[in-house]
């Protein structure tokens, strides 16, 4: 019987043949943390060690509340910078780089065959490039800094075959919302998710990241696209070190195989307060909202901003709506700047924020008031996520959010394309 990607990769790292259900002790290639490094440092200090075990494995990115919005956040950042200096951590990205997941991929840490663990649930994103990446907690990161070892259960794999041709006005976000809506928020709990099929193969890296990023909202341990020519050429001049292409065997054992045909897909919208509360845009039309967010680690790449700008160019944001644009990283920001994409968005009345997590987790830069409604391209719409517990969040593609921003109510983007 053949092996899946996850069985092969964890087997390689563990130095023995493994199958789904086995528990392995492994050492990751890279360990990610962000602003939460301040709390992790506190835990690490309790262990009584002076030095981290492998400083070259640590990647620390400041992205969650940047620039610091209060004295407390400023102190956290100061603590982290001091630690970085003392521990001689070279992979440190201060506030001007962008959201950790995008930064990790752009800087070539995430490559095929790598095992990357991070203190953030959206660490699953790097499967878009054929890596095994998964979110863990703070204590686990502190223990990893100390011992360079962690136990992981080898996951069963859920294979999702995506077939058909993407219709006009439909994007990666609509596909993943549709899948989560049909299968539920825990459909991939403890499991690996493999995206395959013709439509998946035709996707850009930016679109693959959208699917892998949102696999966290299915409960997935990791997500994966088989690294092909598209991935390998994307990694040229980016990959930090050598990488190994690992693929599932043709006769690999999958726990479940799901099939989705996207040829007749409509734009999708996740309603409050769960990501799996998904309906087609036709059932959301006319819903009023106050704040729109275009960007984040889910949908803040050039490809997303271009679509939003195509719709908003020469138009004006509805006077009762405020639109926040958050590029995923400085690199994506610069591309959008040079191509005139941001110019179109700013002219339309959007507010461009610095690359970072912004209001996505309700910490700063546009939290919403009681009774307010947000329409966002981010990945979560949990109650209270963006501010007040009495507010409401809808999730959609950048095109749907941009078109809706013009009308001030949720709108089918195909009216503008």
């Amino acid at each position: 019987m053949g092996k899946t990607f996850s069985e092969k990769l964890l087997g390689l790292k563990a130095g023995r043949e493994v199958s789904a259900g086995d528990v392995v002790t492994v050492s990751p290639d890279y360990i990610l943390s962000h602003d939460n490094s301040a709390a992790i440092i506190k835990e690490f200090e309790k262990l009584g060690l002076e030095k981290v075990s492998s400083p070259g494995k640590l990647v620390i990115v400041l992205d969650h509340v940047i620039p610091a919005s209060s004295e407390k956040y400023a102190q956290n950042h100061k603590t982290i910078r001091k630690f970085v200096e003392e521990q001689k951590i070279t992979n440190f990205f201060d506030i001007h780089h962008g959201i950790c997941h995008q930064v990790l991929m752009e800087n070539g840490f995430a490559t095929p065959g790598k095992l990357i663990l991070g203190a953030d649930s959206h660490t699953v994103s790097y499967g878009a490039l054929g890596a095994f990446s998964s979110g863990i907690g703070r204590s686990e990161v502190a223990a990893l800094w100390a011992t360079d070892e962690i136990w992981l259960r080898v996951p069963e794999t859920l294979k999702i075959q995506i077939e058909g041709k993407l219709p006009r006005g439909i994007y990666a976000k609509d596909i993943i919302l549709k899948i989560i809506g049909e299968e539920g928020a825990d459909c991939a709990n403890y499991k690996a998710v493999e995206f395959s099929g013709d439509a998946a193969k035709n996707m850009s890296i930016a679109s693959r990241i959208v699917l892998c990023n949102m696999a966290a909202e299915m409960g997935a341990k990791n997500a994966y696209f088989a690294p092909d020519d598209v991935a390998i050429s994307w990694l040229e001049n980016r990959a930090k070190d050598e990488f190994e292409l690992i693929y599932s065997d043709k006769d690999a054992k999958y726990q479940t195989v799901l099939h989705f045909n996207i040829s007749t897909l409509e734009p999708q919208v996740a309603f409050p307060h769960t990501v799996d509360n998904v309906k087609p845009v036709s059932q959301a039309k006319g819903i009023k909202f106050h704040q729109a967010v275009i960007g984040t680690c889910t949908n803040g790449r050039l490809e997303d901003l271009v679509v939003a700008a195509q719709i908003l160019k020469g138009k004006k944001v509805h006077p009762e709506v405020r639109v926040l644009v958050i590029p995923a990283s400085r690199a994506e920001y610069l591309l959008a700047l040079k191509e005139g994409v941001l110019e179109s968005l700013v002219e339309a009345g959007c507010v461009v924020l610095n690359p970072g997590c912004g209001p996505c987790l309700g910490a700063h830069q546009g939290v919403i008031a009681p009774g307010e409604v947000a329409l966002s391209t981010a990945n979560r719409n949990f109650q209270g996520r963006m501010g007040s517990r009495d507010s409401f969040i809808y999730l959609a593609s950048p095109a749907t959010v941009a078109a809706s921003a013009i009308k001030g109510v949720i709108t089918d983007p195909r009216e503008y394309l």
Binding site: A119, S139, N189, K221, T274, L361, Q383, G384
Partner: protein
Amino acid sequence: MKKGKVWKYGDNVNTDVIFPGKYTYSILDPREMAVHALEDLDPEFSQKAMPGDVIVAGKNFGCGSSREQAATCLKRAGIQAVIAKSFARIFFRNAINQGLTVIQSEEIVESVEKGEEIAIDFSKGQIKTQKGILSFSPLPESVSGILEAGGLIPYTKAKLEKKKAGRIIACKRPKSVKKKLFI
């Protein structure tokens, strides 16, 4: 047997309603975390929960963010265990790593009522409810050690100290004495 009152919730209780994102990087003190436990789901909880109380919930408890404070705040609020039909992966790990007991059992969730008093016997894997005694499977040995140590940090600390002590003994003592010490 430790007694406690049941706080009962539904499916998909996410980490944002257990511990809101706005506090994740500003509150570092676990005692302060407890004050905000379940704030966006049940504002009464942090005021009325007593040490020993038990949270009983549906499927996918703790879904969403990797924030460990979701487990820390419940532990510090005195919750002796969370019983759910299923747990989200990262929360499950975080709970054990914070020394918070998690029990997966559809049967128990279906049979206990909100507000009822139950008693848990961890060594026997039994819960005494109004309807009678129900059993649950204990956690696998690979993780129960972490729970018994009070969480991953104390567990790792003890492991590191043991390793260090072993090294010192190995360096300083002649071989025969080392052997004796380990018997």
